[in-house]
């Protein structure tokens, strides 16, 4: 008999903390698989929630974005702070890196200002001890008047300590503790509090916090007050106070308040932390002196990337084979079964070609995508990715991109889908969209079979150099596009590089698997529906009007091919067959090859000889250039739509890439003709 769990109480807690303090590890250890991943409403910031039953309590945990502060300047910080203000969680658990307490406490001061009930959890205590840092957590708890715990976030058995503390603390009265900013500032905070007393504010806002934010010139809170009648007068008075303080301290208000916070933290840590400076381990530094070296740093990075692709492709190969085999078995049996029940021809064709064949052709790539996600997660969690952004920043900056954009661009050579999903690590929206739009020009692995087929037919012995040239062309087009976009639609400098370089850490297998699964699942679910819809549309076009042979000249797609073909005439491949192949290539570019087989009605092994009859070496190069640059495959389009949050950029990408492809192929083919190459 199933034991009934009696839930007596629901507790909502938020998990806060700086980036790289082990927050997602803690979240995974607490919730395991009982988590839900989505986006914050209207934002591209990821939201994770989880729940668990513990001692008759249902504990709901919301993982806030990792932030250093709670200003209104970044989307992440605003999301975190709005959640705490508007949703009023019973507790905010802040995870703190015990090896870097001062910086972590900066966020704590702001959580306390916000009026949250805080529990501080110190992680990496052992690591800190090795570095010579001794923390007196009881004393910190006493001084801040909040519970303070020490745990190792990756150890399941330590979680009980935290959960017991959550249950114990949640119905206690909120701590009345305030961060004291020194008399001069405190007096003026009081003054502003008096000023806004007359203004009717929602009850969820703490007066002191609003006063402080007004003093700090916080845009969000200013907007809030602007809705009130006599805001003008209040603003004027606050402005006067600000000017007064700035003249006394000789600094701008933000520096004054930051300094006051750090002065408070300094006082706190002087009494609670002992640092033994002689005990520094410099393992991280030793690795860094090699991987961030000005000469060998970049070659090491390129070798790492090469290894990443080799590892993920090798690991996924058996799975891809398995998928292909499974789909062929399903297809065979489905046809057998449908024949046995005398299903109409179109039903058989629809199920085998569109549903099983079409979906299969995309799903076959999922093992590769998953493996890439796994390896990326390993590089991220280990701390290496931050070093990459550092060493590549100089080059990336020159072409108008952010240092962090380097990883997604390189990943694009494997598959544009995970690459585009990885642009989430970029802070500014402009940098993200720019990186997303350039990504399809990185020649993904699905395009390689097309190059191999064409080069083996036309350039035997020179295959390597031709294929290399195609890849380089993709990079050049991406760089040119970046420079163009930076001067037109994305005017202004790319956002500055200000980034923490975290210490190296050994990633845990479970968190890598969870990372991989989260990203992979969201690809299959979100992109899957779009892909499925387009596969069906293409199938319909290939089979209608009723009675035509699949993808033949008489089918809609064949007719479309004949209509569009003249457009490709100046590019050297104006046949309806080539056009139909390109239309099918929208689904996935490697499909182009099998389509050649279908439209010329030959076995895949004989495609080469057919191609040699209908293409010339020059038109072959022109065709490869077109395949490299045109329309990102539908999976990529679906991901662009998902990651940018609108069809606008997906459409822009489709049109831009195809226009660029046409122009480049035109230049290649016509230029070649002029030079007398055929």
């Amino acid at each position: 008999m199933k034991r009934l769990i009696k839930i007596t109480k629901n507790i909502k807690i938020a998990l806060a903390g700086n980036p790289n303090v082990g927050k997602s590890t803690l979240f995974n250890t607490i919730t395991g698989t009982r988590q839900h991943v989505g986006n914050w409403p209207g934002k591209t910031v990821g939201k994770k929630t989880g729940h668990l039953n513990y001692k008759n309590h249902l504990i709901e945990i919301v993982d806030l974005p990792g932030t250093y502060s709670l200003t209104a300047f970044s989307e992440e910080e605003l999301v975190a702070r709005n959640f705490i203000v508007n949703e009023d969680p019973e507790l905010v658990v802040q995870l703190i890196d015990a090896a870097n307490i001062e910086r972590n406490l900066y966020l704590t001061t702001q959580l306390i200002e916000l009026g949250a009930s805080v529990i501080l959890v110190f992680n990496f205590i052992n690591y800190a001890r090795k570095k010579g840092v001794q923390v007196n957590t009881e004393k910190i708890s006493q001084l801040l008047d909040v519970p303070v715990l020490q745990i190792e976030a990756n150890k399941k058995k330590e979680i009980g300590k935290l959960l017991d503390c959550v249950i114990l603390t949640h119905n206690k009265k909120k701590s009345k503790n305030q961060i004291n900013y020194g008399r001069e500032i405190e007096d003026h905070i009081d003054e502003i509090e008096q000023l806004i007393k007359r203004i009717h504010l929602p009850k969820i806002y703490k007066k002191r916090w609003v006063a402080l934010k007004l003093l700090e010139h916080d845009d969000e809170v200013m907007r809030l007050i602007k809705k009130e009648n006599n805001f003008d007068l209040v603003f004027k008075k606050i402005h006067k106070i600000r000017m007064h303080l700035e003249s006394i301290f000789g600094e701008d208000i933000n520096t004054i308040i930051s300094k006051a916070r750090y002065a408070y933290i300094d006082g706190l840590t002087k009494e609670t932390i002992i640092v033994d400076n002689t005990k520094r381990t410099s393992f991280s530094d030793k690795i860094d002196s090699i991987v961030t070296h000005k000469i060998i740093g970049i070659p090491i990075f390129l070798i790492m990337m090469l290894c990443m692709f080799i590892i993920s492709f090798k690991l996924s190969e058996p799975f891809m084979g398995l998928f292909e085999w499974v789909f062929s078995i399903i297809k065979k049996n489905a046809i057998l079964y449908l024949n046995s029940i005398n299903a109409p021809m179109w039903v058989i064709s629809f199920s085998s070609e569109a549903v099983i064949g079409g979906v299969g052709s995309v799903l076959v790539f999922t093992p590769q995508i998953f493996m890439l996600f796994f390896v990326i997660a390993a590089l991220e969690d280990s701390g290496y990715m931050a070093r990459v952004a550092f060493i590549m920043d100089r080059f990336m900056h020159k072409i108008g991109l952010h240092g962090k954009a380097c990883i997604p661009m390189i990943l694009g050579f494997g598959c544009n889908v995970p690459a585009i999903m990885c642009t989430r690590s970029l802070d500014s929206k402009k940098d993200r969209i720019l990186t997303i739009l350039l990504n399809p020009f990185m020649s993904c692995s699905a395009r390689l079979p097309v190059y191999i087929l064409f080069t083996s037919a036309f350039f035997p012995g020179k295959q390597g150099i031709v294929i290399f040239g195609i890849y380089v062309l993709g990079i050049i087009v991406a760089i040119m596009s970046s420079l163009l976009f930076n001067r037109t639609i994305f005017k202004g400098l790319s956002s500055p590089l200000v980034m923490e370089i975290p210490p190296y850490r050994v990633p845990t297998l479970i968190s890598l698997l969870i990372h991989m699964w989260e990203r992979g699942k969201s690809f299959i679910l979100k992109a899957g529906t779009t892909i499925f819809a387009i596969v069906i549309i293409i199938w319909l076009l290939a089979n209608l009007p009723l009675g035509v042979e699949y993808a033949s000249k008489q089918s809609f797609v064949g007719k479309a091919g004949q209509i569009i073909a003249p457009l490709f005439k100046p590019l050297g491949f104006g046949t309806w067959q080539a056009t139909v192949s390109l239309i099918f290539g929208l689904a996935a570019k490697e499909v182009i090859i099998s389509t050649f087989g279908t439209v010329y009605q030959v076995q895949e092994a004989n495609i080469t000889s057919v191609l040699q009859n209908v293409f010339t070496p020059l038109s072959a190069i022109s065709f490869m250039v077109f395949v490299l640059l045109y329309f990102p495959c539908i999976s990529t389009v679906a991901v662009i739509k998902k990651e940018t949050g609108s069809w606008k950029w997906a459409l822009f990408s489709i049109i831009y890439t195809t226009v660029v492809a046409w122009i480049m192929s035109f230049i290649v083919y016509q230029g070649g003709l002029i030079l007398g190459i055929s």
Partner: protein, 76 residues
């Protein structure tokens, strides 16, 4: 003597005198512990590309453009 942060040699300890940039970046820097009056150590400066600072117990990478906007004074 005042100097740009980008011009400081590796392994030097410096005191930040003034940060000439927009409020947004300024707040971000201060949340990382980089504000007027603090001491930071330069642990990487290749004279091109970004630099790495040691602030409290963490390493912070800073673009060269940003490092040029920060004025410092060397301390011994």
């Amino acid at each position: 003597m005042k100097k740009q942060l980008s011009k400081v040699k590796e392994r030097k300890l410096v005191k930040i005198i003034c940060i000439n940039c927009g409020q947004g970046l300024k707040r971000r820097l201060s949340s990382l512990g980089i504000y007027d009056g603090t001491n930071v150590e330069i642990i990487k400066n290749d004279e091109r590309g970004p630099i790495i600072l040691k602030v409290f117990d963490s390493k912070i990478a800073l673009g060269r453009g940003q490092a040029m906007k920060i004025l410092i004074e060397e301390v011994n």
